[in-house]
Every structure is written in C-alpha cells, then in structure tokens.
C-alpha cells in the first residue's frame, strides 16, 4: 500500500512537471508566453496548481484510503509515517487521502465560485460603465449595499438557514456575494475605455453597443479581470475554508481543506499534522494562484514591448 502511495505521489509530481514543461515549450514561440514564464514564480506556481489539479482529478488512484474510512478507531492521531503519509486525524482517517479528495472540493468550489463572481461582476460593471446614467446609478448603489454588508456574516446567516447545504448552493452563495469588487473594477476600466478614441472609431464603423462592449472595451479590460479572477479563486477558497472550519460550509464527513482543519484543530497539541497539512495546502495553492495571476497580467498586456 505504501509503495503505491509514494508511486502515485511521484507520478502526480512528474505529470505536473511535464505539463509545465510542455506549456513552456509551446508558449515559448509567442511573446506572451515568454513574458509569462519570465515571471520569477510563474513556473513554480503553475507547477503547484498542476500538481493539485492532478491529484484532485485522479483522487481515487492517488489516495491510499477512501476519504471516510476510519482505519483503526482505537488508535487515532497516528503521526506521519511511511504507511500514513501525513498521519491520521482524530477520527482515525488518513489525512493524505482526505487532502487528496479535499482538493476536489476546495479547488472546485473556489474555481466555480470565482467564475460566478467574475461573470456577474464583469457583466454588471460593463453595463454600468458603458450605459452610465440611471443604469449606473442603480447598479452601483446595489454594489454599495453589497460592499457595506460584512460578507462573512451574510454567508453565515444564509448558510445557517440550511442544514447540510448542497455544494452547488454553497458555490452560488460564495460567488454571488463576491462580485461587488470585480464590478467596481470593471466599471472603472469601462468608464475610462469608453472615452477612448478607438471606441469612437468602432462606433463610427457601425458597431453596436454589444459589439463595442464585448470586442472593444472588455478585451482591453481583460488583464485586470483575469488578475482579479486568479486572486479571487484564492479568496473564495479561503472563504470556503473559513465557512467549513466553522462547520457551516462543506458538511462533514465530506472532506474539504477547511473542515479538515476544523477536525484536527482541538488536537493540535498532540497531533499537529491533521490541521497543519490542509492549512499548508490552502496557503500553497493561494500563493500559487497569486503568482500565476501576476504572471498572466505581465503576459496579457500587449502594450508591453514584444521580446
């Protein structure tokens, strides 16, 4: 069993490396790709993300035990060893296996919630900034209200209404309370872009509002949207972790990195591993997302001189 664990772990790492190397090779032909990989931590961040995505997708292969399987109920909190890579938690479950399955939940919720938030935020911001006047006033007052409400309490309240909230509902909740900042950002970009001469030129060419917004304005605002999206995933993951830690997010016994920390934290003194490793996983992924987001911004800005 333990050989297989090491083998799959190594396999995931090699696969992630291969993905990064292949991407690097392919993107090397374009100026953008070269700019992306010139960022000092882009490759590392990409590797971390590729690694976690790989183990999440291949969870049944990678994880030595099922995520709910209580191995030896009489002897919980076993320290990391060759058999239990990251030890076992107070319920005697294998932390590595749960971390692997938890990656599915945490990455999935973070990504999907960010997509919801970015879509809504971009749409609201673009409409608001482009049409201005009462459309803008109405939408932005709505955003003011959204920003004024402490998000974690809104989420706690909403989540507390459900017992055992469905994952898709959690995704929507986190996403729909997270687009306000993005909409402000996009609106500001659009407000400045709509006055640019190339927008007037596009309208003089006979382009309608939709075409102007989607082809001329938003692509020029892509860099901040992408960067805020990449950072946003991290934020959403942290939020999900926070909710799950409080017992209101992903319901136990399903593993998410947040509720794994919660499961282990009152035994921190005797079994530091069951909370620490999911915590490290969260930090690693969030940092990797930041690095990749930053490198994307460097890469996607065509005003940078080609090299």
């Amino acid at each position: 069993m333990s050989v297989w664990t090491w083998l799959t772990l190594g396999g995931a790492a090699v696969l992630a490396l291969a993905v990064v190397a292949e991407l690097r090779r392919r993107l090397q032909t374009s100026a953008r790709g070269r700019r992306f990989f010139r960022h000092p931590t882009a490759a590392l961040g990409l590797f971390v993300l590729a690694f976690f995505v790989t183990i999440a997708l291949a969870a049944p292969v990678v994880a030595p035990y099922p995520p709910y399987y209580q191995i030896d109920i009489g002897h919980p909190n076993r320290p990391p060893s060759a058999q239990f890579l990251l030890g076992t938690d107070p319920f005697s479950r294998d932390v590595w296996s749960r971390l692997v399955y938890g990656a599915r939940v945490s990455l999935g919720i973070g990504t999907l919630a960010m997509l919801v938030a970015a879509t809504v935020g971009t749409a609201v911001g673009a409409v608001s900034g482009y049409f201005r006047r009462w459309v803008d006033a109405t939408l932005m007052r709505l955003v003011d209200v959204g920003l004024a409400m402490p998000r974690i309490f809104v989420l706690l309240m909403a989540v507390a209404l459900w017992e055992h909230i469905a994952l898709w509902a959690l995704v929507l909740l986190i996403g729909l309370t997270g687009w306000f900042g993005t909409s402000r950002l996009v609106r500001a970009e659009v407000l400045s872009l709509r006055e640019r001469e190339f927008v007037a030129a596009a309208r003089a060419l006979g382009a309608g509002a939709g075409r102007v917004i989607f082809r001329h304005v938003l692509p020029n605002a892509a860099a901040p949207i992408i960067v805020s999206g990449a950072l946003g995933i991290g934020n959403m993951m942290l939020l999900e972790a926070g909710l799950s830690f409080l017992g209101l997010g992903v319901p136990s016994p399903a593993p998410s990195w947040g509720n794994m920390i919660a499961d282990g934290w009152h035994k921190m003194a005797v079994a530091w591993w069951s909370s620490t490793f999911p915590g490290l996983a969260i930090s690693l992924v969030v940092m990797a997302l930041n690095a990749v987001g930053d490198a994307l911004r460097d890469a996607l800005d065509p005003r940078r001189e080609a090299a």
Partner: protein, 343 residues
C-alpha cells in the same frame, strides 16, 4: 447642379455644461452641402465647432451632455440621419459614411491586430467570413501603401509608426467603399513629410474610389492642396464658403482675411507690423457666451454699430461666380466702402 450627397441645414449641437452654468452652443446653425466625389474643406481654429459638426453627422455626440437641437437637418442621399433608428444608423456608419480620426495613436484598439480591425467593418456590414475579411484587410493594406501587407496584417498597432497607423485608419474607413469620408484633422498628429504622404494617399484613393471627402483641418495649407471648396468656421458658424481658388484669391470675411494673413509665406514677406507675422487680436469667445451681433465683431478691425447689434446672414459675394457658390457672413458686403485699413 446634381443632388448633393450630404446636406447639412441649420445644424445646432449644444452641450449643457456640468455646473449648469449655461449651454455651450458648440455648433450653432451650420449649413453646407457636399457633392458626390468632391472634397469639402472645413477650416477653423480650435473650438470653432469643426469636430462637433463632423461627430454630429454620424450622431456620435455623447448624449448627455450634448444634444442636436430639433430643427437641424442632416440629409444623406435624401434621408435625414437625425430621425433614423439606431439600427439603420449603424448600417450607414462605416458603410456609407466613414470617419478617420485625428489621433492614429489612440484610434486603434491596442489589443487587436490591425488586420482584425480593418476586417471588422467588412464583417459587420457585409457579413464576410473571417477568412474572406482577412484577405480584404490585406488588400486594403496594400491599397493604402503599406509594404508587406501579408505580414503587417497580423501586427498590433503598437508595432507601427504614426504614419502607418494613419494609413491603417484610412484602410479601416475605406474597407466598405463609403460614399463619404469624414477626415477629422487626419494629418495634425503627424510630422510634415508624413502629412504630405497621407494627403496624397487620400487624394489618390478619392480619385480611385470616387468618394466625397469632408476634410476638417485648422491648416490652410492642407485645404489649399486638397479641397475643391472650403467652408470657414468661426464660433460655431460657417462664416465664409467658397471654391478654394476663389477663397484664397479673394477672402471676403475679415476672419478669413486674418487667417490667410497669418500664414507665413515665402513669396510675399509680410510688410506690416514691422515684419512680424500677422495675428488676429483677441481670443475665440467661450461657446457659452457668444457675442451678440456678428460673433467676430470684438476681434474685427472693421466692426461698426451694426455688427454689434445684428447678426449678419450668409450673403452672396457675387464676383462673377455662379450665385450661391461664394457666401460670406459679413455686413461688409452691404457696405464695401467700410473695408479700409483700420487706423
């Protein structure tokens, strides 16, 4: 005379200013016509309403704060553009009437290749496929005199020089073979040698494609070289309109006279003012408070009581030409004896 391609009658475009302190009458009763295939030069200094006039024709005035007052007429091939639905209007923009802007640096979208941008109008108006539109874009690049069009088509605007970008802009504007091209200061942002190339290019394309051009500029030299007729604008109005040769030979409005005298000439060094270049005294008044009477009277060396009290209409200058070809908004035409050098 044939049916004009474009007829602008009594165009009034006003802007409500931010503080509500007043209304800027940026364009205030402008009328002119453009015949098929001809070049009309519109001349005037900054703030006289040239650009607002051209934007009004395509209804690109930002509303609010701007609006075109009811009673204004802009007829293109007999259809009033001011009453068209947005959809019908979009079908004309870029297709029948195209526009090129002053700043080639900022008028191109930085995130798309120039080929994409030239192709766009063809895709919008003629429903071409991307592949066909790309071929068309290459043809246009060749037409506007860009070397290596097959390669340049995939370049981004920042990879090109100012003159090349203006050529790209012209290519974008002409891709649907418009009947009217509005060129708003097409050469102002370029240096002089490139200016000449661009103007030559416009002349050549006009001849090849048989389109009319509205050439908006503050540079009399540009007008002299390219325009068939000239309209001089001052303070939101047309103050003089004439065939180019007639205007330069016989400027009748004191403002036109002043403008021409302000141009440095190689053949006739200016004798007056101790060898210094002539300048028109004073400033253009603010568009929120045009002077009463003739708007030029505070700066006019000939002004008398009537000019302060009554706005002159456009009067026919006569002078051998066909009636209506040379018109001037000045009371001097009724009292030519007053045209004497001022003390």
């Amino acid at each position: 005379m044939t049916e004009p391609l474009l007829r602008v009658r009594d165009l009034q475009t006003y802007f409500v200013t931010e503080q509500g302190s007043g209304t800027a009458r940026a364009v205030d009763g402008v009328s002119f016509e453009v015949q098929p295939g001809e070049t009309l030069g519109i001349v005037g200094e900054s703030g006289c309403g040239k650009t607002v006039t051209s934007l009004s024709i395509l209804r690109l005035i930002p509303e609010p704060p701007g609006h075109i007052r009811p009673g204004s007429v802009i007829e293109f091939e007999g259809r009033n553009l001011l009453t068209l639905e947005p959809r019908e209007l979009r079908a004309i923009r870029g297709n029948q009437i195209a526009m090129i802007f002053q700043e080639p640096m900022t008028s191109l979208n930085p995130v798309f290749t120039v080929g994409d941008q030239i192709a766009e109008a063809a895709i919008v108006h003629q429903g071409l496929s991307r592949r066909v539109a790309r071929t068309r874009a290459i043809d246009m690049l060749r037409l506007v005199g860009i070397a290596d069009p097959e390669e340049r088509v995939d370049h981004y605007p920042h990879q090109m020089s100012g003159g090349m970008r203006q050529r790209v802009m012209i290519g974008m504007a002409l891709v649907c073979h418009p009947k009217l091209l509005i060129a708003d200061e097409p050469t102002t942002a370029l240096d002089v040698t490139i200016q000449a190339q661009i103007l030559e290019l416009l002349d050549r394309l006009q001849a090849e494609l048989g389109m009319a051009v509205m050439l908006i500029t503050h540079d009399l030299g540009v007008v002299a070289g390219s325009a068939d007729r000239v309209a001089v604008m001052y303070a939101g109005q047309v103050v003089e309109q004439a065939p180019t040769a007639a205007l330069f030979a016989r400027p009748l409005h004191p403002y036109t006279e002043g403008l021409l005298a302000s141009v440095p000439r190689l053949d006739a060094p200016p004798a007056r003012e101790h060898g210094r270049l002539h300048s028109i005294p004073g400033q253009v008044p603010a568009a929120t408070a045009w002077p009463d009477g003739c708007r030029f009277h505070p700066r006019c060396p000939y002004a008398w009581e009537r000019c302060r009290a009554e706005m002159p209409p456009l009067l026919d200058a006569g002078g051998g030409a066909e009636p209506g070809t040379h018109t001037v908004r000045c009371w001097l035409l009724t009292e030519p004896r007053r045209r004497t050098p001022h003390p």
